[in-house]
Symmetry: C2
Subunit: 212 residues, 2 copies
Amino acid sequence: MALCRGGFFASTDPLKRKRAVDDNRRAIEEAAELGTDKIILVCGADPAQPLEVSRRQIFEGISSILDDARTAKIKLAIEPLHPIFANDRSAINTLAQANDLAGLLNSEWVGVAVDVYHLWWDPSLEKEIERSGKNKSLLAFHISDWKTPTVDMLNDRGLMGEGCIPLRKIRSWVENAGFKGFIEVEIFSDLYWRQDQSQFLRKIISAYKEFA
Amino acid sequence: MALCRGGFFASTDPLKRKRAVDDNRRAIEEAAELGTDKIILVCGADPAQPLEVSRRQIFEGISSILDDARTAKIKLAIEPLHPIFANDRSAINTLAQANDLAGLLNSEWVGVAVDVYHLWWDPSLEKEIERSGKNKSLLAFHISDWKTPTVDMLNDRGLMGEGCIPLRKIRSWVENAGFKGFIEVEIFSDLYWRQDQSQFLRKIISAYKEFA
């Protein structure tokens, strides 16, 4: 299992960038205490600066927590987010970029996370998953589905089978690339969060069995 | 100027695909009557079928109107749409894909359209604009801006300068690639459409002068 609370390295404000590094160090400590082996990095972006500046700050941010990760034996998984979030959540928007960044950082403690919701549309996805596998850097796999219509970009994800993401195909790419970790269901959804949560859990289990 | 009403070639329903081809033929005729020299293709996607099937249908759809385009001397501009629209509006989501498709179709009557709103996030954008230029296939350039926050994916675009798109930089890439056509302002916006339209036009002119 992974702790999903790292990242946010990009900002025009140097103080915020420093705070992000501190916060990531605490996340690494917490992950170690909780007995998990990785944290997921939502890398950050700031609409007040060019994407390439955010990307450089992300590289610098991850670089500065590498020693902490190594000491605590916690892996850092760079999660590319859908291009819809390039303005203010992540300047890393494709698996190719995440793989490139992991390559630049060149550490066994850095890898990538594949979330089908963010990446399903990308024609280079199969190739890039294969590349992550070869690099032994494929650290996490998140599933959900993309509904039509989608009424909220952040919190209107579907249960597996409710949308158009080719889940089984992407899962086969991930498994062919050697991934043996958990398949994590991540359905951010105002709709489902309003419902009875035990029932939601049963729906997730049933959808997982039928479609994932 | 371009007529923006072609495309929508992808569907699970063969009848809809045939209707789309007929509709594109009419669009070519209308474009010729109106004295414009191109139509913009929003290529289509259908959440009920895999993206690669939609992509094949788009290739077939454009192929079947090529003779009409040649006869009427109307160019066909493939417009990649933001990946947010990969489910139901376009299975062509990057300029690389549009360039590849134009290359496959291999006709002087087929090219690509660059809309900054759809493409600004893509780290390969500069390279792909250069490629379009070398292929002499860069047919249209659309501008607007990406606001933070964006409340509606389709109709909440910003005036130039209101968002985070590096307009001048992308414009310089487009012009360096040899593009000499109109710069078309395309601000789909429920917010601005509700306002006085003469005032909106003045705002557009002012934003264009200051930021584009």
